[in-house]
Symmetry: C2
Subunit: 229 residues, 2 copies
DNA sequence: CGGTGGATTGAAGCAGCTCAACTTTTGTGG
DNA sequence: CCACAAAAGTTGAGCTGCTTCAATCCACCG
């Protein structure tokens, strides 16, 4: 088993966990590690994608754009998520690195070859699609029915839950990788409203903020209440 | 091939399209047709589901509920969609018939047996999950970034596109199966705002409304503009 | 140390909500 | 089949929470 894959699989179930050592080695020969800077466009909506990737580290934004420029972040992806749209020439969402992102990239044909050999691989992809569907629907209630304070609290909990794949449950101290504008686009709010509500949580003592990017959650239970569940 | 399945498959790709005639017949022996009234709970969130179904006709609401009673409809399903959460004991969304719904129901074990025999069946389920994911993300931009008038117009277009699986593109005349309260829960608005904006579209001549339930789209292009794309 | 981009804070405006009255449709029993 | 009740929908008026617009602040970097 390639050393890289060991590190990758140590986390909870990347898709490669479906492969046996031989298959893993075969795929390993067709993959490349890459590190991209924050802001890099990884997938362009409507443009045929050249390949796929597994996320080894960092945060990826999934973005949908309206013709007039309004935009909505429809999902965040973290290690060890699979990045790309299987079985389609192009995706209708764009993906952009929100932080420095480490990727394990491979071609479309390489993936298709592996799927043909290992049906369990498609099962893993299917499971991830179902998980993303659950996440998307969970976020729909946030966008449709929660107030601004509840949305901001929900966002902090979501980030705390996923930012470090090695920490089970919530991380208590972490960097918000996203800019305020990204948070606003994720929450369906304006940057001013996001800022005001972060300040409110800070003043309430529920969180602490250092240097505007580093968050400490002082009271997880209170934050959950503030998030509306 | 069972006669029932012919009618079902005539529509665009229900999951059974993945089966050969022999497999179809085998599955056919383990299925039952059922018709349920509007309002019937089909899947309860968090409760182990006894089985799955294909939708043969009607509209199904997928609902998420907050502890304090606020609710959000996170999706609508139409024929020939598959209903249920594969590979999980329970779903975290509830499903309820929004109209009289005709179903082709089968047990969990029946589905699992067929999946084991026909890998193409899982591929179909996977494709539907990806389609639902696309739909959910498309709706997230509606919830997060569109104004009330845009949301109402978007809803009418969504309904027109799916209400009759035999009509390609948009139906021009159809019944809104949903109550105003359902529409509000789908759009993240109140019933009053939904009502006002339907009236506005009617006064603008873009749609006509008869007996409060039957909609005619007079100007599809104008409705698309009103929907924000 | 000064410049730049992102973040915060304040004040005013407005879109959608709440509350309330009324209308239309649907359902039920005589 | 009609009378009546209940449910669903519409419309209006006032209010609230988020946005908009504007000024200021702060971290980072040459």
């Amino acid at each position: 088993m390639p050393v890289l894959c060991q590190a990758c699989e140590a986390r909870h179930g990347g898709i490669c966990g479906a492969l046996d050592p031989g298959q893993l080695q075969q795929l390993g020969r067709q993959t490349a590690r890459r590190e991209v800077a924050a802001g890099t466009q990884l997938v362009a909506a409507g443009v045929p994608a050249d390949g796929y990737a597994n996320i080894l580290g960092g945060v990826v934004k999934l973005i949908k754009l309206m013709p007039d420029g309004r935009q909505q972040i429809v999902g965040l992806q973290f290690a060890p998520d699979f990045l790309g749209r299987p079985f389609a020439d192009s995706s209708d969402v764009s993906a952009e690195a929100a932080s420095t992102v480490r990727l394990c990239v491979f071609s479309r044909s390489a993936l298709e070859r592996m799927v043909a050999q290992a049906p369990a691989l498609e099962h893993r992809l299917h499971q991830q699609a179902l998980r993303e569907l659950d996440d998307a629907r969970e976020w729909m209630i946030t966008l449709g029915r929660k107030s601004a304070p509840e949305r901001v609290a929900s966002f902090l909990l979501l980030l705390a839950a996923h930012i470090d794949p090695l920490v089970p449950g919530y991380s208590t101290t972490f960097d918000i990788t996203l800019k305020r504008a990204d948070i606003a686009d994720f929450l369906g709010l304006t940057i001013e409203t996001v800022s005001r509500n972060l300040s409110a949580l800070r003043k309430a003592g529920i969180i602490s903020i250092e240097r505007r990017r580093c968050i400490t959650i002082n009271d997880t239970a209170a934050l959950e209440v503030a998030a509306g569940r």
